[in-house]
C-alpha cells in the first residue's frame, strides 16, 4: 500500500513537471560551458542553471569581468571554447556581426513554452537570445547623510554636484560621489549615459559616420569632469565592483551604478548600518533635459554557433530552466528586475521602471557602436586629468573611431 502511494505521488509530480511540453531540466547528454560577467545576480542565476542542469551534467561556468574581451576569440574557434555566453544588448551586436551565436527558434519551439514573449530577442524574424533580466544604472544615496545636511534627493546631475559639494564642505566625507570611471569600458559607458542624457546622437542617421564632437558632447564631458572632482582621486582605476567596495566601506554618499548592485549591497554581509541607510533613487537628468542620463539594458543568453547541436541543446535547456524559474526570481526579488513570468518585483525595481517611463533609451545596438565605445574608453582620460580640452578629446575619439571603422570595413 505504502509503495503504491509513493508510486502514485511520483507519477503525479512527474506529470505536472512535464505538463508544459518538454521539461528543460535534468540534462544528461552534451556539455555545458558558459562564459559570463562577474556580479552577484549572475552568480544567483548560474546556481539555478547548475541545479537545473542536474548532478549528472557536464557543467562549467567562467565568470569574468573581461567577458566581453574574451567573447569573440573564445567563440570564433571551432569548436568554440564555450557553448553559451551571457549577453546584453551591448555585447550581442558584436557576436551577431561575426555570426557567432545561432538562431534558437527550434529549441524555443521544443522547450520554451514557459517563456514570455518579451524575453525573446528577435532579430529579422529569428530568435537569437533569451533575456532574463533588465538592468540600468541609477542613483544611490545614504539617507542619513542627506537628511543630516538637509539635502533633498537630487534629481538632476547639477543637484548631485551641489549635494556632493555640500557633503564635502561639511567634512563628513572627502570624496562623496562615486561612479565607475575606470579607463576602459566603464569610462566609455559613463560618457554614453551622459551624452544620451544631453539628447545627443552618436552617428549621423543611417550611417556609420560618427558625430560626438559637438556642443552636447562637450557639455557631457564637462559634467563628467565635475563629477570626478567630487570623486576619489583614484577614479580612473575604479570599476563597478571597486565602487561598491567604497560604498560598503562608508566612504561614499552618492553613486551612480547598476540596479543589480542591490544583490550584493543589500545582502546580509558587510556593515549592516550602511545597508540600512542605503536608498535607491531614479537616475538624474542633466542639462535641463527630461530624459534620465542612463541607458536601459537587458541581460540574457545566446548559444554559440561553433558548438555541436548536442552541446547547444544541453546548454539551452539548462539556461532556459533558470530563465523561466519563477521560484528563483521570487526568492531573490531584489537581485535585479527579472523578466520571468510570475515574478513580483521587489522594492529595488523602482529606478529602472522610472528610467523606462521617463524615456531612457536602450544602449544602442549598432554594429559599429562597440568601436566607438572602444575609442571613448581610451581617448577621454587626458581630458579628465585636465591635460586636454573637451573639444580636443572628442576630436581624438572621432579620429580613433574612423581609423578603426575603416579597418573593420564600416567606412
Amino acid at each position: 500500500m505504502k509503495k503504491l502511494l509513493i508510486a502514485l505521488l511520483f507519477t503525479f509530480v512527474s506529470t505536472s513537471a512535464y505538463a508544459g511540453g518538454h521539461s528543460p531540466c535534468g540534462v544528461t547528454d552534451g556539455s555545458i560551458k558558459i562564459l559570463a560577467n562577474e556580479f552577484t545576480t549572475y552568480r544567483i542565476f548560474m546556481d539555478e542553471v547548475k541545479s537545473c542542469a542536474g548532478p549528472s551534467a557536464d557543467f562549467s561556468v567562467t565568470h569574468s569581468v573581461d567577458h566581453n574581451k574574451l567573447q569573440v576569440a573564445a567563440l570564433s574557434a571551432n569548436p568554440a571554447e564555450f557553448s553559451a555566453k551571457l549577453v546584453t544588448n551591448g555585447s550581442i551586436t558584436t557576436l551577431m556581426n561575426d555570426n557567432l551565436i545561432r538562431p534558437l527558434n527550434d529549441l524555443v519551439a521544443k522547450y520554451g513554452s514557459a517563456l514570455q514573449d518579451n524575453q525573446k530577442i528577435v532579430i529579422d524574424g529569428k530568435i537569437y537570445a533569451i533575456a532574463f533580466m533588465a538592468n540600468a544604472q541609477h542613483l544611490w544615496y545614504r539617507e542619513s547623510i542627506l537628511n543630516d545636511l538637509g539635502i533633498a534627493v537630487p534629481s538632476t546631475y547639477e543637484e548631485v554636484i551641489a549635494a556632493a559639494e555640500k557633503i564635502k564642505a561639511s567634512g563628513k566625507m572627502a570624496n562623496p560621489y562615486a561612479g565607475a570611471f575606470k579607463s576602459g569600458w566603464n569610462l566609455g559607458q559613463e560618457f554614453v549615459n551622459m551624452y544620451l542624457g544631453h539628447g545627443g546622437d552618436f552617428f549621423k542617421a543611417g550611417t556609420a559616420e560618427v558625430s560626438v564632437n559637438n556642443a552636447k558632447g562637450v557639455a557631457a564631458l564637462n559634467m563628467l569632469k565635475r563629477l570626478t572632482e567630487v570623486s576619489n582621486p583614484d577614479f580612473l582605476t575604479q570599476d563597478t565592483n571597486a565602487v561598491k567596495e567604497e560604498w560598503e566601506s562608508g566612504n561614499v554618499a552618492l553613486m551612480h551604478i547598476w540596479n543589480s548592485g542591490a544583490a550584493s549591497l543589500l545582502d546580509d554581509e558587510g556593515d549592516q548600518a550602511i545597508k540600512a541607510d542605503t536608498r535607491l533613487a531614479p537616475s538624474p537628468s542633466v542639462g535641463g533635459g527630461s530624459k534620465p542620463a542612463t541607458t536601459l539594458w537587458w541581460d540574457g543568453f545566446g548559444i554559440a554557433t561553433n558548438t555541436s547541436d548536442e552541446n547547444a541543446e544541453a546548454s539551452f535547456r539548462a539556461l532556459l530552466g533558470a530563465a523561466t524559474s519563477t521560484e528563483m526570481a521570487n526568492a531573490n526579488p531584489n537581485a535585479t528586475i527579472w523578466l520571468i513570468d510570475g515574478y513580483s518585483p521587489g522594492d529595488t525595481a523602482g529606478p529602472v521602471v522610472d528610467a523606462a517611463n521617463r524615456g531612457a533609451t536602450p544602449y544602442p545596438s549598432l554594429p559599429y557602436m562597440s568601436l566607438l565605445h572602444g575609442a571613448l574608453s581610451t581617448e577621454l582620460v587626458e581630458f579628465l586629468q585636465g591635460n586636454e580640452s573637451a573639444e580636443k578629446a572628442l576630436a581624438d575619439v572621432e579620429a580613433a573611431y574612423v581609423a578603426k571603422a575603416t579597418e573593420q570595413g564600416f567606412l
Binding site: N68, K69, V72, A73, N89, S91, T93, T94, M96, N97, N99, N118, Q119, K120, I121, V122, I123, D124, G125, A131, A134, A174, K182, S183, G184, L187, G206, N232, P233, D234, L236, T237, L296, W298, L339, A356, P362, S365, L366, P367, S370, L371, G374, S377, T378, V381, Q385, N387, K392, D396, A399, A400, V402, A403, K404, T406, E407, Q408, G409, F410
Partner: protein
C-alpha cells in the same frame, strides 16, 4: 667546433625558432597588409524587452560571402602603418604645417596613440635598465661576501621578485599603494598629505610603474652577475690585496673589467624585455595614463569588438623594428669587441 657539429647542435633550436617565431612573424606581416572586407549593412526589425524597432545590422550572409572570397581581407598595402592609430603620417604633416612652435608640434605628436605609447615604452626602457644593472651588480657583490650558511636563503629572497608572476606582483603592489593600503597610507603620512594618491596622476603612475620594473628586473641582473662573479680569477685579487689595494679599487680595476661583457648582455636582454612591457600596465590598471606598444597590440586583440588583426600586426612589426633599432648600438659594439679580440 667543426661547422658540421655546430649545425646539428643548433638544428633543433633553429627549427623551433623558425616554426614558432619566424613563421608567425611572417604571418603577422602579411596580416598587417590587409584590412577587413567591407561590411554590408541592412535594416531589420528588432524586438527586445523594451519594444520593437528598425535597426541596422550586418548582413551576415553577404559579409560571410565576401570573407570567403578574401579570407585575408582587402589588401591595404602599408595603409594601416600610416593611419592615425600607427605612424600617422597625414596627422604629423598637418601638425608640422599648422603648429607655430616645436612645443605645440610635440604636443600634437605625443597625443597620437602610437607616439604616446612609444614615449612611455622608451621612458620605461631607459629609466629601468640602468638602475637594474647597477643594483643587480651591488646586490651580487654583497651576497657574494656573506657567510655560506646565509647565502641560500638570501639568494632565494633576492630572486623572489622574479619568481612572482608579473601580473600577480603588480596586483599585490597595486593594492598596497592604494590610498588605504599599507604603502599608500604610509606615503600619505610621510608627506603629510591625506589626498596624495599614487594612482591619480600620470607622473606618479609612471614612477610607480618604473619602480615596479626595477624591483621586478633586478633579480635577473643579480643572477647573471652573481654567476659571473664566481669566475673572477683569484690571483690578481690576491696580488692586489698584497699591493694594498682597497676593496673599492679591487672592484673598480679587476672585477668590473672582468664582468664588462656580462653587463652588455644584461643590458641587451633588459632593453628587449622592457620594450615589451605589458603586465604591470594591466596589473596597476594604468591603461589610462601609460600605454606601451605591447599594450596597443593587446588592446587591438582584446577590446570589446572584433579583433583588429591588421592593426595588431602592424604594431607588432613596428615593435620588432623598434627592438632592432634599440639593440643596434649594443650589437655593433659587441661585434667590434669581438673583432678586436681576434
Amino acid at each position: 667546433m667543426p661547422h658540421r657539429t655546430f649545425f646539428w647542435f643548433f638544428f633543433p633550436s633553429g627549427l623551433a625558432m623558425l616554426l614558432f617565431i619566424g613563421l608567425p612573424i611572417i604571418s603577422s606581416f602579411f596580416q598587417s597588409l590587409h584590412i577587413e572586407p567591407e561590411q554590408i549593412l541592412m535594416e531589420v526589425e528588432k524586438c527586445d524587452p523594451f519594444g520593437c524597432k528598425t535597426e541596422t545590422k550586418v548582413d551576415i550572409e553577404a559579409t560571410t560571402k565576401l570573407q570567403e572570397e578574401q579570407p585575408l581581407g582587402r589588401f591595404n598595402g602599408l595603409g594601416t602603418y600610416g593611419d592615425r592609430n600607427h605612424l600617422a603620417f597625414d596627422e604629423i604633416k598637418e601638425a608640422w604645417t599648422n603648429s607655430s612652435s616645436i612645443a605645440e608640434f610635440t604636443d600634437i605628436l605625443l597625443n597620437l596613440p602610437f607616439y604616446k605609447a612609444l614615449l612611455f615604452t622608451l621612458t620605461f626602457c631607459f629609466t629601468v635598465t640602468p638602475p637594474v644593472v647597477v643594483l643587480g651588480f651591488i646586490v651580487a657583490l654583497s651576497v657574494n661576501t656573506i657567510t655560506k650558511s646565509l647565502k641560500g636563503p638570501t639568494i632565494f629572497g633576492v630572486i623572489l621578485p622574479m619568481i612572482v608572476t608579473p601580473l600577480i606582483g603588480s596586483l599585490v603592489l597595486f593594492w598596497m599603494i592604494d590610498a588605504k593600503g599599507i604603502l599608500g597610507s604610509f606615503i600619505q603620512f610621510l608627506f603629510d598629505d591625506p589626498n596624495l594618491s599614487l594612482k591619480s596622476s600620470s607622473q606618479l603612475t609612471w614612477i610607480t610603474l618604473i619602480i615596479y620594473g626595477i624591483w621586478h628586473n633586478t633579480p635577473f641582473a643579480f643572477v647573471v652577475f652573481y654567476a659571473a662573479l664566481q669566475t673572477v680569477p683569484q690571483d690578481p685579487i690576491e696580488a692586489a690585496i698584497i699591493d694594498g689595494a682597497s676593496r673599492y679599487e679591487r672592484v673598480r680595476h679587476i672585477v668590473i673589467p672582468h664582468l664588462y661583457p656580462v653587463a652588455t648582455f644584461i643590458i641587451l636582454i633588459c632593453l628587449m624585455d622592457n620594450f615589451r612591457v605589458l603586465e604591470p600596465i594591466i596589473g596597476f590598471a594604468a591603461e589610462g595614463v601609460a600605454q606601451s606598444l605591447s599594450w596597443m597590440i593587446y588592446n587591438d586583440l582584446r577590446s570589446e569588438n572584433k579583433m583588429l588583426f591588421g592593426s595588431a600586426g602592424a604594431t607588432s612589426m613596428l615593435t620588432i623594428i623598434g627592438v632592432a633599432i634599440l639593440l643596434t648600438p649594443v650589437l655593433i659594439r659587441t661585434w667590434r669587441e669581438f673583432r678586436t679580440e681576434r
